[in-house]
């Protein structure tokens, strides 16, 4: 990118090139921006991505359906259960499996915890980028509590590989329910103290209001979804537009902003955390009304049987063998299923020709589509504003490059 000639009345005669390189403390992930600067102001920005391209879509064509779940973990790794369940919901749609209500409520609890976890990282890091480290420490401590809930149920902290086609691998035990209730009881206080640090903080408001604004029409044209779109005023949420996993039975609001600037994105994420807490409470209450012990649909051909049955029962052994070897009969079909990920509409476009692996699996990744707009948003702003904007768009490198 050559230097751009500036107007004759400017102090510099041409722009300086600044490389906001792939390794940089302020870019949360590996993407590069080559900026042309007129002093402190950005004249143009060229983004380069692909520094963590791991060829997920190619791998998916060579793996049986269950081995694709760990791949989906690593898309938006801050909220991996949502990706896992999105994939399982897609496969269930292909197979026309209907999950019992209790499974849906359990899924909602975990998905909303994942959403809270994702928004906590985004807002904590936004605080760090404006120079305020304390909020980040408060929130990371709360994320440890969420990790403990995941660990109790699936065994892993971050890349969870949660669940099975048709439900979960094990029921929520008493400790998990207790930890969730404890989280619901203790988290609001920490969230309030975080909000007290930032929401009316003079410095934070100066750094974020009016910064990185995008209008609703432009956002729609760029394909924005998720909190970045809701900050511009449009209340599109996949959970209400195309409800999945019984979201239509729940009572929650969709927070929207007005200007589409960084402050609005921050506030929308905070409000979504409060709405997620409401959803978890309602889901726990509904779950307790359902008959106990149901944690998966009755689809033995696609759901890995329990280990004690595998060692005792002939059918279970056969199903176990077939599923692990990937020799399950999958129907032919083509479908697109979307879930509301932490960052927007995460879509799975699956074409199955009946084999052990998908013929084509394409991930519609919200971060990839949102980040295109960064060059236009950053134009004309100061460098420090561009950093804060990039941080509030919540670009996760795993989802960007896939």
């Amino acid at each position: 990118m050559a230097h751009i000639q500036l107007d004759s009345d400017s102090l510099e005669k041409e722009t300086t090139t600044l490389n906001l390189g792939p390794t940089h403390p302020a870019t949360h992930g590996v993407f590069q921006n080559v900026l042309e600067m007129d002093g402190e102001r950005i004249v143009s920005a060229v983004s380069t991505i692909g520094y963590i391209h791991r060829a997920f879509e190619k791998i998916a064509e060579h793996r049986p359906y269950y081995q694709i779940t760990p791949l989906t973990d690593r898309l938006n790794y801050c909220s991996s259960p949502i990706n896992n369940f999105g994939w399982h919901l897609t496969v269930e749609k292909l197979l026309n499996i209907e999950t019992p209500k209790r499974v849906d409520y359990m899924r909602i609890i975990i998905m909303e915890l994942a959403r809270i976890s994702d928004h906590l990282i985004c807002n904590g890091i936004l605080g760090v980028d404006t120079g305020a480290f304390t909020g980040f420490l408060y929130l990371m401590q709360e994320r440890e509590n969420i990790y403990e809930i995941y660990e109790e149920i699936c065994g892993a902290r971050l890349t969870t590989n949660f669940g099975r086609v048709g439900g979960f691998e094990r029921d929520f035990n008493d400790i998990a329910i207790l930890k969730t209730k404890k989280f619901l009881a203790t988290f609001p206080k920490i969230m309030k103290s975080f909000e007290e640090l930032f929401n009316r903080n003079r410095i934070f408001i100066d750094r974020t209001v009016g910064v990185g604004a995008i209008s609703a029409e432009k956002a729609l044209n760029y394909g924005f979804t998720g909190p970045c779109l809701r900050a511009t005023g449009i209340d599109y949420d996949v959970r209400t537009a195309n409800p999945y996993s019984s979201y239509n039975e729940f009572d929650f609001e969709i927070p929207v902003g007005t200007n589409g600037d960084t402050y609005d994105r921050y506030m929308v994420r905070n409000e979504e955390i409060w709405q997620s807490l409401r959803l978890i409470e309602q889901a726990l209450a509904k779950m307790e009304k359902e008959p106990k012990g149901i944690f998966h649909a009755d689809v033995p051909a696609y759901y890995l049987p329990e280990k004690q049955d595998v060692y005792a029962n002939m059918e279970a052994l056969i199903y176990h063998f077939k599923i692990v070897m990937g020799e399950v009969d999958m129907p032919k079909g083509e479908l697109y299923h979307a879930v509301e990920g932490g960052n927007g509409e995460l879509g799975f476009y699956l074409i199955s020709e009946g084999g052990r692996s998908p013929y084509r699996l394409h991930f519609r990744r919200p971060c990839f589509i949102i980040y295109q707009a960064f060059a236009e948003i950053a134009k004309g702003s100061l460098l420090s504003d561009a950093i804060v904007t990039m941080s509030s768009l919540n670009v996760i490198a795993g989802e960007l490059d896939a």
């Binding site: 749609k93 537009a241 707009a373």
Partner: protein, 165 residues
């Protein structure tokens, strides 16, 4: 207001006639096929029509069919006001994979078309900057095509006997 599927199909067929074909509804999502000369007029019609208002491009991707030597470029569009989704497929030959760009209508097609070019070699005519986006810049092959191997063929440290190949 909602869109009735039959009305939409009838309207599209009367406007575009034989350019559209293969109307089907797999898993509840209306899908049809068109050719590369009609795709932009179809998208434009769906976008500008006041009843339909398909103003959101959800996804652009491609699929490789080596048996018929074709690439299918698949567009997913949706109308948020009517809560209606649509899938449009365009089949183009492998030997001449050219198709007009959708960036004239939707900005979100920009990087998605670059990704499709990077993976499949589909050339979007009129694209402002059709270069590779995810793979290394000096790559020559198109990795998502079925004939391209998954693993790096130049590895010398992997012993295939251990992997049962």
């Amino acid at each position: 207001m909602a869109i009735a599927t039959e009305n939409l199909i009838a309207d599209l067929q009367s406007t575009f006639g034989t350019a559209l074909s293969n109307f089907e509804e797999p898993y509840g999502l209306l899908t049809f096929q068109t050719n590369k000369d009609s795709i932009i007029p179809v998208l434009k019609y769906l976008n500008e029509n006041e009843t339909y208002r398909f103003r959101f491009l959800t996804d652009v991707c491609a699929v490789h069919y080596p048996t018929t030597k074709e690439l299918a470029v698949v567009y997913h569009v949706q109308s948020m006001e009517n809560n209606f989704r649509l899938r449009i497929k365009v089949f183009i030959p492998e030997s001449n994979p050219k198709i007009p760009t959708a960036t004239v209508l939707y900005e979100s097609a920009n990087w998605q078309e670059r990704e499709t070019y990077d993976f499949y070699g589909v050339i979007f005519e009129g694209h402002p900057n059709l270069v590779r986006i995810l793979n290394v810049d000096d790559m020559v092959a198109f990795p998502m095509r079925k004939e391209h191997p998954l693993e790096d063929p130049n590895r010398i440290d992997k012993n295939d006997t251990y992997f049962g190949r």
